[in-house]
């Protein structure tokens, strides 16, 4: 049965939300006018507030409707059919919600609603900001809801509705021509790559960050509009911190997901989708610094306006890049193009033109000081720091936009063949590394100056200790890593040494500030904590990326060609099943293919599972036990969690330790066969392993010619170089996957084959079912042997066994070490803690009136 009601409710709510956003924008605009404000008339404001609440309510209904469609498996809707499936676990249904463009817009809209309501209610003390700020908010909501409106007027399509029915989406499909009420039985599923817990929390965090950048932007616009050029900074500041920390955490969650799930061997690939969010983050952090400098010394107001507005515009640009399809094949993971590029461009252009025009119009009125900044003032270095952050962002922007230049030139009729740099990592690193060095030095110097009296002597006193510690510690690490072997890297590259030394300096300098503040007021040290986090992240990136070491170097000597033997990295090693290969200090063996079975804590070997026609169910061929606890008995039916994922057991053995990793290969419906790594975490490094190539799991094996043996019980033969003993036959009552009836007979042969590691028992089955002869062969994957019970010669008591052999199973493996990658994650957490401390503090400050003594206020700033 097609349930059109829920979709109609959803679609109607989208329209209500859209109309309410228009009403709210207009009413807030009217409420913010000079005349209305002066008269003390609050009717426009109350009306606008009502409209915004209606908008919020409608958005909630839309979300409920869409989630209901997914949750109830209503496959008559295209969104459910294309993003969900019957087998999907509930927590991944949340991910389906935002897998599509429409759902992710909805998520973004949802956060704006919550933030808007927070602004309406928490700003009670000072109502003057509500109207102008919420006018911008509602105006943004108008554009965002239009993206999911799904209204077609003639040839003009406004937005793409998530509530479209299958029969409308695929009107030409024969199924729907025959039966318009046809409902598919199952959906095509969430991309298995996204079935990962990080994908449940990463998008909401990132979109909360996206949404939060709107708050400082709306305050800045309100400041310009209402000519409150200085007052907006204070309420905007904690929100800027909030936006920066959520965006930062969101980015790092994405990085961790990529590290764990994708196989490019790292956490950051300079993919345009990653860059698109990194750029506004850098600019936003720059904006926070100029705003802080302004709060302390009344300098840098114009810069704050520019950077806050730019960071929001860059968020819009990021949206345009990732959703319009303009990146084409420059990116692996942008959204599918919904034909919204025109609308997205309008959205971006409208805000760019309006905000820049307003800024230019008011530019002359923005107060500025003529006072010269001293080299020993913290503000000077804070501004330099902002400039470094913005330049770093600018560099990424210039390169990431290359596909945009091509499209733009193509649009005006010039053919351009520019492509992204061939070696993107080298290209970005040569700038970003030095930006990192700059940031590290400036956080140290800037913070020391911020907290000390701004003169030469006190600065010298403050910097001596951190500098000495830095030099001491750095030389220690450099000497130890070069002279001895116990560190997983040799720090000898002068560029890397520079980054290492400067980052260490940042850590020590900021640490000395925390120590100093411990005696006074530790709650002020948020900035110092965040800076330590950043410096640790830089160190973590330096070691994990700069000293990433591939250990799976192929030195088998068997090479096709020696055309360019020196420059080519042979980074992949072939592992035959059960044949160990030496890699670095490890003896590495590939042990076989495994699947994930529901309710069993470890992966289960494919050989223990008899696969049925339904790929989600299998029958146990033997007892499935983990650590002596039996989870399933022979013959039990069990559920395969995700049949598209095969795990390859790889054993690492060295003198000190032994462990097993399960890198994964996934048959992905959208992207082909995808490999995901398995990572062994050590304190000082990660060991990262993934398969590069595996024999296609869906392809039938190429079995050799059948060879038949006539055997009596106790005979010994040689099969594929292995010794095999035929023990005899026995009658069995159950054959896995076959229902036996009266009169059906089944016998199984018992063969023992001596493998390298252990003995294998094979039980090929011969049966007579419904007067027909049937055979269930047994495959020993480890040995590449298939045994078939051909026939019984009852007169001579001889048994005919057919044997096919094939190439043994193998994987091609790549393994690398990532030294000290943990420092990156620890740094991320410390940075976030620092940000939160700063939010708490700035928020308290924002609530209190400005009457604080100037001297105290000066002291209480954090860079």
């Amino acid at each position: 049965m097609i349930n059109t009601l829920i979709g109609d409710v959803g679609h109607a709510s989208v329209i209500v939300a859209f109309v309410a956003a228009i009403v709210a924008s207009y009413a807030y605009f009217m409420a913010a006018r000079q005349k209305t404000e002066a008269s003390g008339d609050t009717s426009w404001r109350n009306f606008a507030r009502g409209a915004f609440y209606v908008h919020g309510l409608a958005v909630m209904v839309v979300i409920f409707a869409l989630f209901n469609i997914i949750y109830e498996h209503r496959y008559e809707y295209y969104y459910a059919w294309s993003h969900s499936s019957n087998h999907l676990a509930v927590h991944y249904m949340i991910s389906c919600f935002w897998e599509g463009q429409e759902g992710s817009f909805l998520l973004w809209i949802f956060w704006h609603v919550l933030l808007g309501i927070a602004l309406i209610n928490f700003g009670k003390k000072n109502k003057t900001w509500e109207a102008p700020v919420m006018a911008t908010f509602s105006f943004v909501q108008l554009f965002l809801t239009s993206m999911i409106l799904g209204v077609v007027i003639g040839n003009f399509k406004l937005g793409s509705s998530p509530f479209i029915l299958m029969r409308d989406f695929m009107a030409d499909a024969p199924v729907f021509k025959m039966d318009p009420n046809f409902v598919p039985q199952d959906g095509t599923g969430l991309n298995p790559l996204l079935q990962n817990y990080w994908m449940v929390i990463h998008p909401p965090t990132l979109f909360l960050g996206f949404a939060a950048t709107l708050v400082p932007f709306a305050f800045a616009i309100a400041g310009l509009w209402k000519e409150k050029f200085t007052e907006w900074v204070k309420p905007a500041l904690p929100w800027s911190h909030f936006a920066a920390v959520t965006l930062g955490i969101g980015i790092m969650m994405g990085a961790y997901w990529a590290y764990e799930t994708l196989n490019f061997g790292g956490y950051w690939n300079w993919d345009p989708v990653e860059n698109a969010v990194y750029i506004p983050w850098l600019v936003l952090v720059g904006a926070i610094h100029t705003m802080l400098a302004y709060r302390r010394s009344k300098q840098g107001l114009a810069a704050s306006f520019i950077l806050v507005i730019t960071s929001f515009l860059l968020i819009l640009y990021a949206t345009f890049l990732t959703r319009s399809g303009i990146l084409g094949n420059a990116s692996v993971h942008s959204f599918t193009d919904l034909g919204l590029s025109g609308q997205l461009f309008t959205y971006m252009a409208a805000f760019m033109v309006l905000s820049v025009a307003l800024l230019v119009y008011r530019w002359k009125q923005i107060p500025s000081t003529e006072k010269e900044l001293s080299t020993y003032s913290a503000e000077f270095w804070v501004f330099v720091g902002s400039a470094v952050l913005c330049l770093a962002g600018f560099q990424v922007l210039v390169t990431t936009s290359i596909p945009v230049y091509n499209s733009f030139l193509g649009f005006i009729g010039i053919e351009s063949n520019a492509a992204l740099p061939a070696d993107q990592i080298a290209h970005y690193t040569k700038f970003q590394l030095w930006a990192g060095v700059g940031v590290a030095i400036l956080t140290g110097i800037g913070q020391l100056l911020w907290w000390k009296k701004a003169n030469k002597n006190s600065f010298k006193d403050a910097i001596t200790m951190p500098l000495m510690l830095t030099l001491l510690f750095a030389s220690l690490v450099i000497i130890l890593s070069n002279k001895f072997d116990f560190l997983p890297f040799k720090l000898d590259n002068p560029v890397y040494i520079t980054l290492f030394v400067t980052s260490l300096f940042a850590v020590f300098a900021n640490f000395s500030i925390i120590l100093g503040l411990l005696q006074k007021k530790v709650s002020l040290s948020g900035g110092a904590v965040a800076h330590i986090g950043i410096a640790l992240m830089l160190i973590g990136i330096l070691f994990s990326s700069g000293y990433s070491n591939i250990i799976s170097v192929n030195n088998s000597g068997m090479l096709y060609s020696r055309e360019f033997p020196d420059e080519i990295n042979r980074d992949n090693v072939l592992l035959w099943r059960n044949t160990p290969v030496q890699m670095d200090k490890y003896k590495v063996s590939y042990r076989g293919q495994f699947l994930e079975v529901k309710d069993v804590p470890e992966y289960v070997s494919k050989e223990l599972l008899f696969q049925t026609a339904d790929e989600y169910t299998a029958i146990a061929r033997g007892d499935i036990k983990v650590k002596d606890k039996v989870y399933y008995k022979t013959g039990d039916t069990l559920e395969i969690v995700s049949p598209e994922n095969t795990y390859y057991e790889v054993e690492y053995k060295s003198d000190e330790e032994q462990f097993v990793l399960y890198p994964r290969a996934q048959v992905n419906p959208n992207m082909g066969l995808l490999a995901s790594p398995d990572i062994k975490h050590f304190v000082n490094k990660d060991l990262y392993t993934h398969v590069s190539t595996v024999p296609d799991p869906n392809e039938e094996k190429d079995w050799g010619e059948l060879k038949e043996y006539e055997l009596s019980a106790g005979d010994t033969i040689i099969l594929n170089d292995y010794v095999a003993v035929f023990n005899g036959i026995e009658r069995i009552n159950n054959v896995p996957g076959v229902s036996m009836k009266n009169g059906d007979v089944a016998v199984q042969a018992d063969m023992k084959i001596m493998g390298e590691r252990k003995n294998y028992h094979a039980h090929p089955v011969l049966m007579i079912k419904d007067q027909m002869m049937g055979r269930v062969p047994e495959v020993i994957e480890d040995l590449g042997i298939r045994l078939t019970f051909m026939n019984i010669d009852t007169q001579n008591n001889k048994f005919k066994i057919g044997v096919n052999v094939t190439q043994k199973d193998y994987v091609i493996l790549k393994a690398m070490e990532k030294p000290f990658v943990n420092i990156l994650w620890i740094g991320t957490i410390i940075m976030s803690v620092g940000f939160v401390m700063a939010i708490v503090r700035r928020n308290k400050e924002g609530g209190t009136p400005d009457a604080k003594p100037a001297k105290k206020a000066t002291k209480a700033q954090v860079a």
């Binding site: 059919w81 294309s82 499936s85 087998h87 695929m170 499909a173 199924v175 046809f182 598919p184 199952d186 959906g187 095509t188 599923g189 298995p192 094949n329 010269e372 900044l373 000077f380 501004f383 400039a387 913005c390 330049l391 210039v398 390169t399 290359i402 063949n417 520019a418 492509a419 992204l420 740099p421 061939a422 070696d423 290209h427 040569k430 700038f431 192929n554 068997m558 090479l559 096709y560 060609s561 055309e563 360019f564 080519i568 042979r570 980074d571 992949n572 072939l574 790929e615 049949p643 598209e644 419906p669 959208n670 992207m671 082909g672 066969l673 590069s692 190539t693 190439q807 193998y810 091609i812």
Partner: protein, 145 residues
């Protein structure tokens, strides 16, 4: 001159430097003919080439060489660029999965002697771009290749 002006000038200078350097690092989409000319001029810059796999009359791919049991890091194939020019390409990595299914191949690298040595291969697979199909008998399953 004020310090802020000096900083401003430095920032602008660096920004120009960034643009220049990006222009220098940016690669280009070329044909094999142009790639050969570049190599003949002694240039070792890496370029992008877009092409299709060489196929015989029956649609089978010809000239693909990959045997992991001999050398897992050697993959060679023949690519036909948009000017219908054929070129032998060598990729010192395992064969990308689903290589055969690709409609279009973008390679990055340069000509070395008479082969094109690719560092990177980007595949455009048809399933990624065409709509999924729906039919009454076979509900779409997650693991259908």
């Amino acid at each position: 001159m004020k310090k802020s002006h000096i900083i401003g000038i430095i920032v602008i200078a660096l920004a120009i430097g960034i643009i220049m350097s990006t222009a220098g690092d940016a690669s280009t989409y070329v044909s094999f003919g142009e790639a050969k000319e570049l190599a003949a001029d002694g240039s070792t810059t890496k370029v992008h080439v877009v092409g299709r796999l060489k196929k015989d009359d029956k649609g089978h791919i010809v000239g693909m060489q990959y045997d992991p049991t001999i050398d897992p890091n050697y993959f060679a194939f023949t690519l036909v660029d948009t000017n219908r020019m054929e070129q032998r390409v060598v990729y010192y990595n395992p064969k990308p999965q689903d290589f055969e299914r690709s409609e279009q191949v973008v390679i990055t690298g340069n000509m070395q002697q008479d082969v094109f040595v690719a560092d990177k291969i980007l595949l455009k697979c048809p399933s990624k771009y065409t709509e999924k199909e729906v039919s009454a008998n076979t509900p779409g399953t997650a693991a259908k290749l």
